[in-house]
């Protein structure tokens, strides 16, 4: 980038200098200026110098490409499989044996004990692209293809990214939240995710509504009969801060709206309006809110 800026300053000054210095002035006589057809030396110079710059830039780029793409992973790298769906993210943690959605948790890594995260990228339908600008460059998720990337975050925090390859109507609201946790927090989080869903007697009506309607065809709640795969896993829904892949904060009000009329939050998403009556809607949302 510095090289480009340097080139810009030099060439831009040349253009401005030529444009101003050699303009026709009113005092000029009407003679044509000297007719110069070219100069082999000058032309050779401005061929060879750019070639040298290009070679340097190529070598710099090739070094980075090699460092990123051909990196070796330490044995303690976390493995995550990210699967792009229209229009949300599925995250599988094969090392821990659970599945979650839309909010990726990874442990912070430090130089002394690196714990990078190795992400396998797959797609269930169309092309998507995994892009969290502050953590890594983007790599596409392409159906019938296995891509991979890795991140090695050194600061705890919440990083926002989103799908960067046009994937259909709601490409815009396919956000990607990455939580970089301290090792203790990450451990706590994985323990919690591994447990099956909470069964509370208070929400048994809601659970019945969920399991006797189409909800269970698309969503999984582990430990119950709901094992659909088309939508996000809801086993620990309330451990996530947003719903609809980052489209809205995870509140009771938004959950009610989402079940009643998903298009109000995310027009064009694949979640259907469930057409439940008021009572069932409240019951099912109460059930969902117990899933923490």
């Amino acid at each position: 980038m510095a090289i480009c800026l340097g080139i810009f300053v030099v060439v831009f000054s040349l253009i401005v200098y030529a444009a101003v210095k050699y303009r026709k002035r009113p005092t000029d006589d009407n003679h044509e200026p000297p007719q110069i057809y070219g100069s082999n030396q000058v032309e050779l110079a401005w061929t060879v110098i750019p070639i040298l710059i290009v070679v340097v830039l190529f070598l710099a780029a090739a070094r980075v490409i090699h460092a990123v793409e051909d990196a070796q992973f330490p044995a303690n790298a976390i493995e995550v499989t990210a699967i792009g769906h229209q229009f949300w993210w599925e995250f599988q943690y094969p090392g821990y044996g659970f599945v979650t959605a839309n909010e990726l948790h990874v442990p912070v890594s430090d130089a002394a004990h690196p714990t990078p995260t190795h992400i396998i990228l797959l797609s269930a339908d169309t092309d998507h692209s995994f892009w969290v600008p502050q953590l890594a460059g983007k790599i596409d998720l392409i159906p019938n293809r296995r891509n991979e990337m890795w991140i090695d975050p050194h600061d705890v925090g919440h990083y926002v990214g989103q799908c960067a390859q046009y994937c259909g109507t709601q490409h815009a609201k396919m956000l990607l939240n990455v939580m970089v946790d301290s090792p203790e927090d990450f451990e706590k989080w994985t323990q919690q995710q591994k447990t099956p869903a909470v069964m509370s007697q208070q929400v048994v009506t809601g659970r019945k509504v969920f399991e006797t309607n189409a909800c269970m065809n698309c969503h999984t709640i582990s430990g119950t009969t709901a094992n659909g795969k088309f939508g996000p896993d809801l086993t620990h829904l309330m451990s996530r801060s947003t719903i609809a892949s980052g489209a809205a904060p995870n509140t009771q009000q938004n959950l009610l709206l989402w079940v009643k009329e998903p298009d109000a939050i995310k027009p064009g998403c694949l979640m259907p309006a469930m057409q439940l009556d008021e009572q069932d809607t409240n019951a099912v949302v109460a059930y969902l809110m117990s899933l923490n």
């Binding site: 253009i15 110069i36 070639i51 109507t169 027009p267």
Partner: protein, 562 residues
């Protein structure tokens, strides 16, 4: 050949004015014409019409994105808008406009009476026209058919598998396929025609190394069209087979490959950039020398650079695919080939500046646009080099940084050159001068608007804003940048309106131009303005690259130095 008589003085007859004839007859003449000048004008006007339509689509998108969480258009409509905007601007605005210039000017510049195949020329134009009509018919024709389709919404590069029947129901994608397929036939016909004309119909004395650079660059453009359109047409036929005959080329659900479509598309798509930008270079290479009062600096190396751009541009396509997970070797190869193209492009910029150096530059509007072109194309080239580097692309590919980059190429480069070309050749085509005052208003408004829009568009890209999103949250910090970007559109729109007003006003009220208002040197200025149907009563005979210079300066002719 060299002993032949030098060219005679130009004729001064003016062709019969059309206004004296009934309208129906005039229209009929235009419909059935095979005259390269009329077809050139029709190509150009047709391109401008679609430029306006595509501009309106862009303006609606900018209005939607001006503030966060806007509800001006729905996501479905927004997706159609950006698909139609891209498709329209590339296939139905930019290509017809550059073909228009080539059609009108190439035969005049090489001293020919028409294109090599006048009927094929008309066929090519009407095929392109048909393609545009088919594409836009989707807006109305989609309704009432199965799927209640409307305009295509798969993006202008229509990545698989979004175009497969599973994800694109209805016929909107078919309109996209067939519209471009048909216009592709027209493009190939025109490219063949330009190529043949240049190779076979040059006037006596015009050796290849005496052709104006405009003609050289259009030769390479035509060659690239011949090579590049084929893969796109093939891919589109394969997609049609997928959609209707049960093929599985790109159908990932049945084992097809999404990546193959990307290769096909970009093998077309990247040479396409040079198909559009070489004619822009061609215009600039004619205008800068005339207004600097010097011959082009380094003619031979300009030709060499053009030809090498042509070749290299066929080997860079996968730089559009740095994020699809190619191996490190493939990525490194495409970094190298892409960066290599900067060398001949840089040579051109240096040579244009070298032409201005030591000249006496006359700042007519055409020249102003050329200087703006130089500065903007320089920036476009430099952001291009940045994006050529795969690691940089992993961050900024598919972001607004890329959108800003290629609009810098297309608007800052191609459109600026096209405006320069209209101010420069309008007197030849119409016989009247364009108004310089209106022209300066157009120039400054358009340049200010361009920089407001596209300078600031780089920033949200650097802040992580991907392209093709219909809305965004205020919390992302992109709002103020998008607002500035959208405000710039107003300036550009007013500028273009002034240009259109100027074109119409000057047609009626412009000063009479005469044959050679700019004291220029290429052959088209030797005939009348507008030129007669047959271009030249006597086929000219030339002895150098600047035949009119020889004529005007018999004491110091160019041919002495060649």
């Amino acid at each position: 050949m060299f002993d032949a008589q030098p060219m005679s003085r130009p004729m001064v007859t003016t062709p019969e004015r059309e206004s004296s004839r009934p309208l129906v007859q005039v229209l009929h003449d235009w419909m059935v014409t095979v005259d390269h000048k009329r077809l050139g004008l029709m190509y150009f006007s047709y391109g401008i019409l679609f430029l306006v339509i595509g501009g309106v689509e862009a303006s609606i998108m900018r209005a939607q994105l001006a503030v966060a969480n806007n509800h001006l258009v729905s996501p479905e409509v927004f997706n159609r808008l950006f698909t139609m905007h891209g498709t329209t601007m590339i296939f139905f605005a930019a290509m017809p406009i550059v073909f228009g210039f080539a059609n009108y000017l190439v035969p005049l510049m090489i001293g020919a009476r028409d294109m090599a195949f006048p009927r094929l020329n008309a066929w090519g134009f009407w095929m392109s026209a048909l393609g545009g009509i088919i594409l836009y018919f989707s807006f109305i024709g989609g309704f009432g058919l199965y799927g209640a389709g409307s305009a295509p919404d798969v993006g202008w590069f229509a990545y698989a598998p979004l175009t497969s029947p599973a994800f694109s129901v209805g016929h909107s994608t078919d309109y996209w396929i067939v519209g471009i397929l048909v216009s592709g036939f027209g493009s190939i016909a025109t490219a063949l025609n330009v190529m043949t004309t240049i190779l076979c119909l040059r006037c006596p004395g015009m050796k290849l190394n005496r052709m104006p650079l405009f003609v050289w660059m259009n030769t390479v453009m035509a060659a690239l069209v011949l090579v590049a359109i084929g893969p796109l047409t093939a891919a589109q036929l394969m997609l049609l087979i997928d959609r209707y005959l049960g093929g599985h080329f790109f159908d990932t659900q049945a084992g097809g490959s999404a990546v193959i479509w990307m290769h096909f598309f970009w093998i077309f798509g990247h040479p396409e950039v040079y198909i559009l930008v070489l004619p822009a270079f061609a215009i600039v290479s004619e205008v800068i020398p005339v207004f600097s009062r010097k011959p082009i600096f380094g003619y031979s190396i300009m030709v060499a650079a053009t030809v090498s751009i042509g070749f290299i541009s066929l080997g860079v396509w996968a730089h559009h695919m740095f994020t699809v997970g190619m191996t490190s070797y493939a990525n490194a190869f495409f970094v190298a080939s892409t960066a290599a193209i900067a060398v001949p492009t840089g040579i051109k910029i240096f040579n244009w500046v070298g032409t201005m150096w030591g000249g006496k530059i006359i700042y007519k509007v055409a020249m102003l646009f050329c200087v703006a072109f130089l500065c903007q194309f320089l920036i476009a080239g430099l952001t291009g080099i940045m994006l050529a580097s795969a690691p940089f692309d992993w961050q900024l590919g598919n972001s607004y940084f890329v959108v800003a980059h290629f609009h810098y190429v297309i608007l800052g480069g191609i459109v600026m050159a096209v405006f320069a070309g209209t101010y420069y050749w309008y007197p030849k085509v119409v016989g009247k001068m364009m108004n310089e005052t209106l022209g300066k208003w157009h120039f400054w408004l358009f340049v200010i608007g361009f920089h407001l829009t596209f300078d600031f568009m780089h920033v949200p890209g650097l802040l992580g804003m991907p392209r093709r999103i219909y809305t965004y949250e205020a919390s992302r910090g992109w709002e103020v940048w998008n607002l500035i970007v959208s405000i710039g559109v107003i300036f550009q729109a007013v500028g273009v309106l002034i240009w259109a007003a100027n074109v119409i006003w000057s047609y009626y009220k412009g000063e009479i131009a005469g044959n050679d208002p700019w004291d220029a040197w290429t052959l088209e200025w030797h005939t009348t303005s507008p030129p007669p149907d047959y271009n030249y009563a006597e086929i000219p005979v030339i002895r150098s690259r600047r035949p009119l210079w020889d004529l005007k300066h018999p004491e110091d002719p160019d041919w002495k130095y060649e």
